[in-house]
C-alpha cells in the first residue's frame, strides 16, 4: 500500500501530538512539519522518521509529493492554510475550532469539498471511548429520542505563555465558547442530532478577574426539535491535569450517564494521565481520517454538523458579549 503522505502545519503542543499519532499509523508518512519557527518545526519533525521541518508553509502545502495536510496551528491561520491546501488538491484535516466565523468555514469547505477533496474537522471528543459508547447507545434507539443533555466538563488547565498566550485574545481564539466550547457543542449536536436554535451563556473568571477570555462558562441550548441542553466548561480546577466530566443524556425511554469519577485509573501525584474513558482519542481520530480518505467512506464528523456547532459557538460568544439570549438562524440542514 502506498503510504499517505501528510504534511503537518503547526509546531505547537497539539501539532506535536498530531505528528506522534500520525507517525504511528501504518500506511502514513509524515513528510513535513511546517511552521513559522524553524527550530520548533525541526524539533517537531524529528518525532516522525524522515520528516522535514520548514518555515515554507505555502510551498509545503502545495507540494506534489504530499497527499494530505493536517492543519493544527493557531485558529486564525486555519482558513489560510486549509484553502491553500484545498487549492493544491489536498485532503485536509483541521483542528477544532475549524474557523473563527461561519463564513470562513464555508470558504474552507468550498476550497476542499468544492474541489472534490475532503475536509474533516478534528472533533476529538467524538473519538473518546466513552463518547463512542454513548453514541452507539443513542444510535441503537434503545434510549428513545434524546431530549435532555447535561454535560459538566471541568479541568485544570492554564494556557501557555501567561498573559502572552494567544488564547486569551478573543480576536484570535474566538472566545472560550469557540475555542473550547466547540468540543461540547459539537458533542451535543451529534448526540441530539438536531441543530441548536437558541443559546444563552454566562461566564466567570477564576484565574484572574480581568482575563479577556474567562476560564469558565456555561451554555443553555435549545435545539430545533425542542430538546434542551446544559453545557458547562471550567478550566480552573486547582490541580493541573485534574479532570471531572459528567454526562447525562435523558431519552424518552432511558437515560445514559457517565462520570469520570467512576473511572478506574492512575493516582500518582505529578503524573496526570487522561481517564480511561477518554484515552486514545486523537489516535483514533487521525486513523479514522486516513481510513476515510483511502476508502472514501464518510467522515464521522460531517461539515454540516461542524458548521452548526461553530455557528452555535459564535452565537454563545455573542450571548456572553451582550448578556442576552441569541436566536440562531441555522440555514444548512444537518
Amino acid at each position: 500500500m502506498t503510504p499517505l503522505r501528510v504534511a503537518v502545519v503547526g509546531t505547537g503542543s497539539f501539532a506535536r501530538e498530531h505528528v506522534v499519532a500520525l507517525s504511528q499509523l501504518s500506511g502514513v508518512r509524515v513528510t513535513h512539519v511546517a511552521g513559522s519557527d524553524l527550530g520548533r518545526a525541526q524539533s517537531v519533525a524529528a518525532l516522525a522518521p524522515g520528516a522535514i521541518g520548514t518555515t515554507d508553509i505555502a510551498g509545503t502545502v502545495g507540494l506534489d509529493g504530499i497527499d494530505a495536510v493536517d492543519v493544527c496551528n493557531a485558529t486564525p491561520d486555519h482558513k489560510r492554510w486549509v484553502i491553500a491546501a484545498g487549492d493544491a488538491g489536498k485532503h485536509v484535516h483541521v483542528d477544532k475550532p475549524a474557523a473563527l466565523t461561519v463564513a470562513d468555514f464555508d470558504e474552507m469547505v468550498t476550497a476542499t469539498e468544492g474541489r472534490g477533496r475532503t475536509l474533516m474537522v478534528g472533533q476529538t471528543v467524538r473519538f473518546q471511548p466513552v463518547i463512542a459508547e454513548l453514541q452507539q447507545q443513542v444510535a441503537s434507539g434503545d434510549i428513545g429520542d434524546p431530549k435532555l443533555l447535561h454535560v459538566t466538563w471541568y479541568t485544570g488547565h492554564v494556557w501557555p505563555n501567561g498573559w502572552r498566550g494567544w488564547q486569551l485574545d478573543t480576536a484570535l481564539s474566538g472566545g472560550h465558547p469557540v475555542h473550547n466550547g466547540t468540543h461540547s457543542i459539537d458533542l451535543a449536536v451529534w448526540l441530539m442530532n438536531s441543530r441548536p436554535v437558541e443559546v444563552f451563556a454566562r461566564q466567570f473568571a477564576t484565574f484572574a478577574a480581568n482575563m479577556p477570555m474567562p476560564d469558565s462558562f456555561q451554555l443553555l441550548v435549545r435545539f430545533e426539535n425542542g430538546s434542551l441542553a446544559t453545557l458547562e466548561l471550567c478550566y480552573a480546577l486547582r490541580q493541573p491535569g485534574e479532570f471531572l466530566r459528567r454526562i447525562v443524556l435523558a431519552g424518552t425511554e432511558a437515560t445514559l450517564a457517565h462520570s469520570t469519577e467512576a473511572d478506574p485509573g492512575l493516582a500518582s501525584p505529578g503524573h496526570p494521565v487522561p481517564p480511561a474513558s477518554i484515552e486514545g482519542a486523537l489516535a483514533a481520530q487521525l486513523a479514522h481520517w486516513v481510513h476515510s480518505i483511502r476508502t472514501k467512506e464518510p467522515f464521522l464528523v460531517t461539515n454540516r454538523q461542524a458548521r452548526a456547532a461553530l455557528m452555535t459557538a459564535v452565537a454563545a460568544q455573542q450571548s456572553l458579549d451582550t448578556g442576552q439570549p441569541v436566536q440562531i438562524e441555522q440555514t444548512v440542514a444537518l
Binding site: G144, K147, L148, H150, T152, Y154, E198, F200, R202, Q203, F204, T206, S216, Q218, L220, V221, R222, G226, S227, L228, A229, T230, E232, C234, A236, L237, R238, L244, R246, V248, A250, G251, T252, E253, A254, T255, A257, E261, G323, Q324, P325
Partner: protein, 376 residues
C-alpha cells in the same frame, strides 16, 4: 407536640409516616375543607386511616389552638397560601408543603399574615440533606475558597409518576399545581444554592419544554427546564431540572450539585456514598449510606421542625427563604414567556435591576400570576 394535617392530598402520607413514629409527636388528625372534589376527600381520609389517626370533622378542628400546636398544610399547591394564612390566623404553628404558594402575590400575603402570627410558618424543603450540610461545612471552613459557580441537577423519573406522585394532576394540572416542574422542583435547587452560598439570585434565564410524554404537554406545562442564574458578586449557576423518563439516580429522584470554588471544588450527591449489592432481585442494586437521599432530607427536616417547635423556636427555614425561591421561579416563567433575562421580583414590587417586567408581585395583578406555570 400536637400535630394536625389540613388536607392530605399531597405528600401527607410520608410526612405522617415520619411524624407518627416521633415520640415527641401526638397526631391529632387530618381534616379537609368542605366542598372539595370527592377524590380529595377520599385521599385525605385514606392518609388518615393509613397513619391510624383521626379523621377530623372540620378544618376548624385541625386548627384549634387548644388542641393543636402545629398544623401541616398538605393540599394541592393552589390552596397552600390560603390555608396557611387561615392556620396562622388561628394561632397554630404551620408547616406548608412546597411550594408555599403558586404566585408571588399569594406568597406575599402569607408573609403579611406571618407578621402578626403567634407561631411560626415554615415550608417543606431539602436543605437538611446530609450531603448539602456536609458541603456547607466545606464552604464555611474555607476549603473551597469563595464559591464561583454551581451546577445543580434535580431530576425525577416520569416512569415512577404513578407511585411517586399521588395523582399526576397534582403536578401537571395548573388548576391544582399552579405550574409545571419548574414550580415543583426549581425551589429545591434555589434553596440549595442560597444555602451553600448565602447569595441571592439577581437574574434568571430559562428554557423549558414538555419533552417526555408524561402528560405535561397535554396540560400546557413544562416537564423539563434548563435555567441560568446570576447571583450576587458575579457568581453563576445552572440548573437542569425536570421529570425525565428515568432520573439518573437510585430512587424516583436524583439530586446532585457540583460547586466550583476559587480554591477547590466539591460534589453533592444525595445518592452517594452508596453500597452496591450484586445478586438477588434486582440483580444489581445500590443502597445509599444512611438511606434514600430524599427520604433522609425530609426526615431530618421534620425532626428539626418538631425539635424547634418543642423548644418554642422557629425552624431554620422560613417564609423569606420560600419566597426567595418562588421569586426565582416566577422570574424563570417570565423569562420563558418573554425570552429575556428577568430579575426576581423583590417584595414590594421592585426587581433586582429595576426592570419593569410585570412580575406577579411587582405588577400586583393577576396577569403575572396567570403566567406562572403555563408552558409557552
Amino acid at each position: 407536640m400536637r400535630v394536625s394535617f389540613v388536607s392530605g392530598v399531597r405528600h401527607a402520607g410520608p410526612y405522617l409516616e415520619i411524624l407518627r413514629h416521633d415520640p415527641r409527636v401526638e397526631l391529632v388528625g387530618v381534616a379537609e375543607e368542605p366542598g372539595v372534589p370527592e377524590w380529595m376527600l377520599r385521599d385525605s381520609q385514606h392518609v388518615a386511616r393509613r397513619a391510624e389517626t383521626a379523621w377530623l370533622p372540620s378544618v376548624d378542628d385541625a386548627l384549634d389552638p387548644d388542641r393543636v400546636d402545629l398544623a401541616f398544610i398538605c393540599s394541592e399547591p393552589t390552596r397552600h397560601a390560603r390555608l396557611a394564612i387561615t392556620a396562622m390566623k388561628r394561632g397554630v404553628n404551620v408547616v406548608v408543603d412546597k411550594p408555599v404558594a403558586t404566585t408571588l402575590d399569594d406568597a406575599d400575603l402569607v408573609l403579611d399574615a406571618a407578621r402578626d402570627a403567634r407561631g411560626f410558618c415554615s415550608v417543606i424543603n431539602r436543605t437538611h440533606s446530609p450531603a448539602l450540610r456536609r458541603t456547607r461545612r466545606y464552604v464555611d471552613a474555607g476549603y473551597l475558597g469563595l464559591p464561583r459557580h454551581l451546577d445543580v441537577e434535580f431530576l425525577a423519573s416520569g416512569r415512577h409518576f404513578s407511585t411517586s406522585v399521588e395523582r399526576p394532576g397534582l403536578v401537571i394540572d395548573p388548576a391544582l399545581s399552579g405550574g409545571g416542574e419548574l414550580l415543583n422542583f426549581l425551589g429545591y435547587c434555589v434553596d440549595a444554592v442560597r444555602y451553600l452560598t448565602g447569595l441571592e439570585v439577581e437574574s434568571v434565564y430559562a428554557m423549558t419544554g414538555a419533552l417526555f410524554g408524561a402528560g405535561h404537554a397535554d396540560r400546557g406545562v413544562e416537564d423539563t427546564a434548563v435555567v441560568s442564574l446570576g447571583l450576587e458578586h458575579g457568581v453563576t449557576c445552572t440548573v437542569t431540572v425536570g421529570r425525565v423518563a428515568f432520573a439518573p439516580g437510585l430512587g424516583p429522584t436524583s439530586s446532585s450539585i457540583r460547586l466550583l470554588g476559587s480554591h477547590g471544588h466539591a460534589v453533592v450527591d444525595d445518592d452517594k456514598p452508596a453500597v452496591l449489592r450484586y445478586g438477588g432481585h434486582p440483580a444489581l442494586s445500590a443502597h445509599p449510606v444512611g438511606g434514600d437521599g430524599s427520604a433522609v432530607a425530609l426526615r431530618l427536616f421534620l425532626d428539626h421542625v418538631v425539635g424547634r417547635a418543642v423548644e418554642g423556636r422557629a425552624p431554620d427555614y422560613g417564609l423569606a427563604d420560600a419566597r426567595a425561591g418562588l421569586a426565582v421561579i416566577d422570574a424563570a416563567y417570565r423569562s420563558v414567556a418573554s425570552r429575556a433575562v428577568c430579575a426576581p421580583a423583590k417584595r414590594g414590587g421592585g426587581t433586582a435591576d429595576g426592570a419593569a417586567e410585570g412580575s406577579a408581585a411587582g405588577a400586583g395583578s393577576d396577569a403575572g400570576a396567570a403566567r406562572i406555570g403555563v408552558h409557552s
